[in-house]
Symmetry: C2
Subunit: 425 residues, 2 copies
Amino acid sequence: MNLLIRNANLNGKLVDISIEGNRFSTIAPNLEGSFDEEFDAKGMLAFPPFYNCHTHVPMVLLRGYADDLELFTWLNDHIWPAEENFTSDVTWGKVAIYAGTRLACLEMIKSGTVFFNDSYFIIDQTIRAVEEMGMRACIGTTWLNTGNADKCARLSATNDAVRMAYQNGEYSSRTLVAEAPHSIYTVPEKDLREIAERSAQNGMLIHLHLAETSKEVQDCKKEHYGLTPVEYIKECGLLNKRARLAHAVWLSPHDIELIKESGAVLIHNPTSNLKLCSGMFHFKEIDEAGIPFTLGTDGCASNNAHSMFSEMKFAALSGKTQAKNPTAAPAERVFRLATADGAQAFFPEGGEIAPGKLADLMLINPDQPYFVGDYNPISNLVYAGESSCVDSLLCDGKFLMKHRQVEGEAEIIEQARRVCDKFRR
Amino acid sequence: MNLLIRNANLNGKLVDISIEGNRFSTIAPNLEGSFDEEFDAKGMLAFPPFYNCHTHVPMVLLRGYADDLELFTWLNDHIWPAEENFTSDVTWGKVAIYAGTRLACLEMIKSGTVFFNDSYFIIDQTIRAVEEMGMRACIGTTWLNTGNADKCARLSATNDAVRMAYQNGEYSSRTLVAEAPHSIYTVPEKDLREIAERSAQNGMLIHLHLAETSKEVQDCKKEHYGLTPVEYIKECGLLNKRARLAHAVWLSPHDIELIKESGAVLIHNPTSNLKLCSGMFHFKEIDEAGIPFTLGTDGCASNNAHSMFSEMKFAALSGKTQAKNPTAAPAERVFRLATADGAQAFFPEGGEIAPGKLADLMLINPDQPYFVGDYNPISNLVYAGESSCVDSLLCDGKFLMKHRQVEGEAEIIEQARRVCDKFRR
């Protein structure tokens, strides 16, 4: 299968882009040859698409279910009881997670995102949905101690099955599976050490919430002989180049040194941090320390959207305000964070429109009122962009959206609504 | 002219909404009678539309022209020299302001906004464009001392002509004209006092930037015998119920008391404040003090968009983070700020869908992936909404947009692009 994208505007130059299989092949003006499919991108701007690096996608089903509450009221009185719905009835839980993931994929595709890094329950259904929808994903074998032996056994069984399927090559090359201990305050030390050993053996990435709130830091110091969360996970063997650490809002200078030495990657979630009042990520400081980081929306219950456009604007503006410096977190840097840097952390052969790279591509239609003045398209994407400017989206050499149309859209929304109706009752 | 909107979902109830002239008439299920036009709003949610209460709309022409800079570098090296383009050549300036305003109106209409409160130059052309586009606006007779006698004379002549036309009833009932001294640091005290007297006589609103940065407060205290900006404008006679004060980030407890006594209305601009690192508005404190306030995007050069969706999310999230309290700035409150409270400050007979009120209305199409779960439509609008969910928009009893189509859209974008091309050269 080969494909030709004609007349795309790539960095101000008009080119044709040929794709063979799942890779970019030749990029040059007026390509000749015969192709299985040609697509005219006249008037459109070509960019690498978005990588959303921290999500809990099935939580779309809880979008708007409970907002504007204190963290623990929100979790104890609303989110966790609602989630019981997923986990207490296995058959129903599977339907819900599948429907929720499809809806989230649709929302992400329509806003230019080809990848997400997820951690949630009943992950076999998340994988089923994402494989069908054609996106890339890194799906975490989520682990936390719920205090309920039955549930832990079910969680463990699903995780083991998924890990085995992954290692047996049963998933497409678009799906990664990671170790995903939820956090240091929900997973016992013994389990953290076990996960660290397993990851050292199987080479799987590690996806973990870390240093999200000041309470987490204080509690950690109390319980673990004065160690910060970063120092503690180092002790447990989890701080290494495979670690993908979500939030990392509260870091000491020593933490920053340790992270830098380890090669771990941080994941910044500006909207979630502001909505839950977790604090503000030190964008400028982390960037100047040379620590790699990426961008994520977090789950829908604490955002409440999967739009990387909105996320980029929040990253830029909170980065400036936190540093008290309007030159901090500039548009070009934030755009790279949301695209190439995300790819680098999960699919390092993606994130760039160049021969031999993974053929992920978004085509932007600049004929929007919010795209004029058109001096700087990247500034427009970061500060004024909305989903509606993404005309078409390719992942792994295949179209996920053409001219704003995604296959099965109405049915996906309807199925998710039916699940939400059941929740409401 | 009468109009019937059929089958709209208003606060969870299916109703027909009849409009006579520019007012809502009857709202009830299954209305009968004959109407000049019927519109089927089946499946759509009816809400009051947005009021954008602080703008400099022609600055769309400078969108993305210069970002991520220190305030004074940005103004001195980029924005002010660029604006010379508008003001140094009268003919060209008129074309530019007209084209820019039309583009901004288009952007606002497509994102559900029917009103803006503006302050800029060559305002006769702003008024011409807004009257044609069918929106409401409050246009300020902008005054600042540019240090250039010719320019000041031109500014003054335009202001006088507009003020006279307004007082002679030459504009539609959708257009208000306000006194708009730019700020206390660009307008001499003598002029501030003169404007205060004129507003007391002609009853016009006063639109003013105030207490935007801590530097402004420090400088004011130094120059004006220790008075804060709020105390100083009270001295000048500008602090009264006609005052509409943009930003108001830096207020002392005494300032808050004075504002409360005066009946003045504040205008909160969260995105601009974060982008320029001006500081964070004290949403919760101001609201609890019972001071009326509204929401605005500010000019496009410091945002860079006119979307009230994005603005609501920034208001909610910065309101929470500033108060260190996730229950602050809840969705319902922020939505009212962006709609009814904006109307209250400028067109108090608007802002509500009820018989006898001004017929301003937005129809939301909830068939969007980002609108499911659909437990709480207002939470979805504030935290996940985008322009694309606004299906249709009415202002003053007339459609400005039907099913996402606005008359003349392509031509408006093309004209604005031609102006930007001239800027670029």
